[in-house]
Symmetry: C2
């Protein structure tokens, strides 16, 4: 897209509205990476959804947001020490987890997998062994771990429910071993759910694309997938809202 064709971006909230060049460019978090405390890394989730709550179609999230959304995703990555996705998300589509040069060094790429089946070379664009971490539970076979270790650093965490990884421990290990103080999570819906339900997620960045995707119950993929969340976890605070074209970029404190 030619720069002159880029839609105007308005920060709507906090008011007064103001034209901006880039969404979240001056973003600050309550916890900065230099700050040492015991609360663990600051965890923020970034997802895009259609007006009817679809976060993906056929497992692929890439088609929901616009070019401005993809640009915003890279800005959010540039604020993180590490970018985490579930292995299912990586299996569903070829993707990069970098900020495309907006941060030096690039954030670490972190893949969480209960099974240890992670197609790194095939699916992760710009894949670099030195900046790639896989987190698996101790139940994964030593043979599979050895295979993974040729492509990435391995963090072994306790097994959580249903063969997954114990996420609070995994996040603590990321901090202890790789100095991750700001962790961006980009799905999928089961990982988002696990982080929110365990109280690990501090913020949600939600792009609301002005589309209605449709799809029958068996085809519906939303931003979270898991059991109903407890009442206390249900009220969140809108921190900011940006508008580009008819696409909204919303930031909530969870």
């Amino acid at each position: 897209m030619n720069p002159t064709e880029l839609p105007e971006i308005l920060r709507l909230y906090p008011s007064p509205a103001e034209k901006v060049n880039k969404i979240y460019e001056g973003l600050k978090f309550p916890v900065e990476s230099s700050q040492a405390d015991d609360s663990g890394p600051y965890v923020y989730i970034n997802v895009a959804s259609s007006l009817d709550g679809r976060a993906a179609k056929g497992g692929k999230a890439g088609g929901i947001g616009s070019g401005t959304d993809r640009e915003t995703m890279r800005v959010l990555r540039s604020k993180a020490d590490a970018v985490m996705v579930g292995a299912g998300t990586l299996r569903a589509e070829v993707m990069s987890l970098t900020s495309e040069g907006r941060r030096t060094p690039e954030p670490l790429a972190v893949i969480v997998s209960g099974s240890g089946q992670i197609p790194l070379e095939e699916q992760l664009i710009g894949f670099e062994r030195g900046r790639t971490i896989v987190i698996v539970p101790s139940s994964v076979s030593s043979e599979r771990m050895e295979g993974l270790s040729r492509s990435a650093h391995i963090l072994v965490a306790r097994a959580g429910t249903r063969g997954s990884v114990d996420l609070p421990e995994a996040i603590k290990l990321l901090e202890q071993r790789f100095q991750v103080r700001r962790l961006l999570v980009e799905g999928g819906p089961s990982l988002n759910h696990a982080l929110i339900s365990s109280g690990q997620a501090d913020e949600l960045f939600l792009t609301l694309a002005p589309k209605i995707i449709g799809g029958s119950p068996g085809e519906i993929e939303t931003i979270v997938n898991g059991g109903y969340l407890a009442e206390k976890e249900r009220f969140h605070v809108l921190l900011s809202a940006y508008l580009s074209g008819s696409e909204l970029f919303l930031r909530y404190r969870l």
Copy 2:
């Protein structure tokens, strides 16, 4: 709630932001009820959704939005000649379809049902025979139609797909027989989908509640339910955005 405790409401968009007393109070549609043309009634859908796209929990939509959302729903009803819901929505929870005195006379209550099984007396608060219309396909038995006719006006439309009502015809009948020029639709998701996919819906009013509900795939209820929508129907234009607390009230032209 004491009036002094009501959250402040800001119109965020179009900018500049402005404090307002009530959302959509001065709402105007492109087509006014006095205008005679061939385009049929102006159809607008009003729904509430959580951040994770849930429009209901256990079939009930009532718990998604706040008190401000319910007040806004009544204002939107006051702009309509008729308020339509699917029979499943009425079966799921006891509800009123009135503006609670904001419009005189109250809008017509319209229930669409493929089967003709509609628990009007049990479920519709403030039920009045003279202002209640049920729309059923011709496939419904004459015995059932006779039963319904004691409680409501009956409109018989052609059968649509899968035993449902042919909605374009139903809406035309509403206009011809009951002078309905502005039709508000409040779900459920199958009715919303049928109207959007057939090009009958002109606008979407979406309340985005600052909650994350959760729920596993089989429990997910979103604002539309049906097949994937065609590409051409996927881009919509944001007309306005209001903020009350952290709840957003969004209006889109479809």
